[in-house]
Symmetry: C2
Subunit: 236 residues, 2 copies
DNA sequence: ATGTCTTTGTGAACGCGTGCACAAAGATAG
DNA sequence: CTATCTTTGTGCACGCGTTCACAAAGACAT
């Protein structure tokens, strides 16, 4: 699909559905893999399978970005990688700070997926003074007191909180005050933030509990009376 | 959220909506906190605030469980803790195996939220023989070859994959074959599983990319020079 | 008992996301 | 140029989830 000039300048009415945005990274990953294998084009069917969604959904998702496919052929891999990257804002540099360098924080710092997508770890921070200066993933741990200066100096707009639950809200407040407007929270707490600040949370415990629910349901369904429900006792 | 069940009723007529199930752990956490403070009852308004949702949604969620509130008063904290725990299946013991004891696996093993909710780490496993026997979070790392035996001996039905992406599918296959029917996947890959197996994925990279999208949008909305900062045309 | 006040539980309306199914668009062959 | 074949892009219908708004239920005071 040689770049023809029939592409419109994206007349999208200012808004890609949230559900679509959440899937774009998935498509991007699948496309990157194809790109590395030098696959030139891919059909919606193939790409959908690789991304674990159905093809109609994928086509509709792409339709929000514009008409980037060629009927009878499919999508140009390289071109789509570029379009999605741009749409997600990955063509620019995003400095990130990670606060709380325990097991989890260290894991995040070492995670390769960071750098590969325009995310740059600007600093690792911890409240424990004993950690200061120690190298983690090649970066020195800085003391939390430097937070404000680091955020400002590096123009950090994304913060990752990997502290214990008790410290999360305070760290969050300081990040927001310093200028951070997007937060990825790994601490098991609900964070209060002012209007305009985005928070996404990753909560291991919640995921496990959801699995447990379905697991219980599966166990209860087989060989169970028409009543269906599992136990049902009442405490005092 | 990532419940990967494609074609199916998804929610039972007798069942609880998936969206509600995903919020129950949130309520449970807030209720547990109240319980520790010996608060006897709580209104939907208060609890909703603590859990970060709106009160109408909370009441509707609880209505799927039954009528556990008292009009004019609110909900009995202890009773609700019990009901939600039971509904989620947390009143029973869930043995869990963690595969891949790198930075992330170790972080998960050390995570306290595990044990506190009926989840018991039955074993830590890694493909690296050099790790075998090493203590992590008080448990010895076992070699991956023991996977099948461990799953069977401990009646494990939930597996956590914290391996590199390349190893995830193979580990997943082995877990499923051995009898695991719920998987929590931290590896950045789409896992293929047979019907009846639930997979939930936690993907740091995806969360960051979603934040970047919104961050970009925020940056583009304000100021916005005559040149229209954000989007763009294609690279001719 | 009666009235007032608080808070739940839910019917109904609405909006978003999903999946079907097909027409339109382009490639390709004759 | 015409016919055929492939695959996109999308109109439409449907179902899930959210929110509103209020009647019903109970607590509490008099």
């Amino acid at each position: 699909m040689a770049t023809s000039r029939s592409h419109r300048p994206a007349t999208r009415s200012r808004g890609i559905p949230e559900a679509t945005v959440a899937r774009l990274p998935l498509y991007l990953r699948a496309l990157t893999t194809l790109s590395e294998r030098s696959v030139p084009t891919v059909s919606s069917e193939e790409l959908a399978t690789a991304a674990g969604v159905n093809s109609a959904k994928l086509r509709k998702d792409f339709s929000y970005l514009g008409s980037y496919g060629t009927r009878g052929v499919g999508y140009d891999v390289e071109y789509l990688v570029y379009q999605i990257s741009r749409e997600l804002g990955l063509t620019q540099d995003w400095p990130v700070v990670i606060v709380g360098i325990g097991n989890l924080g260290a894991a995040l710092a070492n995670y390769g997926g960071f750098a590969s997508r325009g995310f740059r770890v600007a600093a690792l921070m911890d409240a424990d003074a004993a950690l200061a200066g120690k190298l983690v993933a090649g970066l020195p741990v800085r003391h939390i007191d430097e937070l404000e200066a680091i955020v400002e100096d590096n123009q950090v707009s994304i913060g990752v909180i990997a502290t214990p639950a008790g410290a999360a809200q305070e760290v969050c407040d300081r990040l927001v005050t310093a200028g951070v407007t997007s937060i990825l929270n790994f601490a098991p707490t609900v964070l209060q933030v002012p209007e305009g600040v985005d928070v996404r949370k990753v909560d291991l415990s919640i995921e496990l509990q959801i699995l447990a629910f379905h697991e219980q349901r599966k166990a209860g369904e087989q060989g169970q009376g028409p009543d269906g429900d599992v136990p049902a006792v009442m405490p005092a």
